[in-house]
């Protein structure tokens, strides 16, 4: 009797927990069949990661939430092209980064980056006094970068993509990836380590 109970408990622990928590792959397959609730579960699982991508790039909470929502809607329309054998998290975060870049570029025409102008704007003493916490300083420094620099930093430092992967993701030459990344780091170093 004890043995039977032990076996039953062990079975329940092993299999009911698996049944209660379907994998991302299961949810994607169900979502492809039209189960909106399954996609809702995927959103719940990955929304924090997607929101943080948008927030790091946009530096504005409300906008980041809106873009996160748009990311999931966009990803849903492309769900049939997604390879279910690959992890969903990195893919949706890359979609978010791209969407944020498109959003930023649609706000204002791409202008030639002027380092002197940018340095003068970003390192003002009022801004430094206002931004007290280090995290906020980093966010403010990131927000002061041109859109493409921000996205390259996001993909390299927060999503761990290689130069080649960033190049493919943003559809830009490898030389541009390097140039954007190195210049972005230089600007960040100047802003973060500027004397008060």
């Amino acid at each position: 009797m004890v043995l039977t109970d032990t076996f039953r408990n062990s079975f329940n622990r092993r299999y009911t927990s698996a049944m209660d928590a379907p994998t991302d792959r299961d949810l994607i397959l169900r979502a492809r069949r039209g189960e909106v609730e399954a996609y809702g579960e995927l959103v719940t699982r990955h929304q924090a990661g997607v929101f943080n991508v948008c927030y790091r790039i946009l530096h504005e909470r409300g906008e980041a939430e809106d873009l996160s929502q748009e990311t999931f809607l966009r990803a849903h329309s492309r769900l049939n092209t997604f390879d279910v054998n690959r992890p969903f998290g990195p893919w949706i975060r890359r979609v978010a980064a791209n969407l944020c870049l498109n959003h930023l570029e649609s706000l204002k025409p791409e202008t030639e980056f002027d380092e002197e102008r940018d340095a003068a704007e970003g390192a003002g003493p009022e801004a430094v006094v206002e931004v007290r916490e280090r995290g906020e300083q980093i966010r403010a420094a990131l927000a002061s970068l041109p859109a493409r620099f921000r996205v390259v930093i996001e993909l390299r430092h927060y999503q761990g993509l290689s130069y080649d992967e960033i190049s493919a993701e943003l559809n830009i030459p490898l030389s541009d990836v390097k140039s954007h990344l190195f210049r972005a780091r230089k600007l960040l170093a100047e802003k973060l380590h500027a004397p008060d």
Binding site: V36, E37, Y39, G40, E41, V43, T44, Q47, A48, F51, N52, Y55, R56, R61, E65, S68, Q69, F72, L73, H76, S77, G135, I138, R139, L142, I153, R156, H157, Y158, S162, Y163, K178, L181, F182, R185, K186, L188, A189, L192
Partner: protein, 183 residues
Amino acid sequence: MHLTDDQLNEYLDDALPKRARAESHLSTCAECTARLSALRSLAAEIESLPEESLARNLAPAVTRRLTSPAAAYSGFPRWLTLTTVLQTAAATVLIASVAPFILEAASTFIPALQAPPVMETILEAQRVWTAWLDALSQFQWPSPPELPASLGLSNFYILLALAGTALAWLVGNGLLLRSQIKQ
């Protein structure tokens, strides 16, 4: 000869082709080692940014939008915006207006490009338009057939029945879609 900034960045990202040579240099150069160390600190600082929590759950809004009737419009390609449609229409009108003049001018150089004269084309279009208006003015709706008197039904009752059916159809659809609208 010191390492360049680009080489140090590539070294940091494990993307420098001649890594062994750079390592050999770094083992003897204090200045380049310090620059690499500063770059590493910067990367660590960037990556130390804490994750922020989300103030609201996005899932209900996403699923609601996926089930809303407006979601049907998401099938349109992204480039098909109102601006694109209006620009295309404006461009078409412009090309259609200018084309006869260009063809006429070009036909003086290339005889094969004989286009009908502009005035003739406009007159022909006017003729077609007038003929179409004449046809439209003579159009008459067919009168409904008279019902046999023995049935005791007038057209008024038939129209009333049709209106009632349409109303029931609308209410029925509304009830069916109510659950989806609520989601």
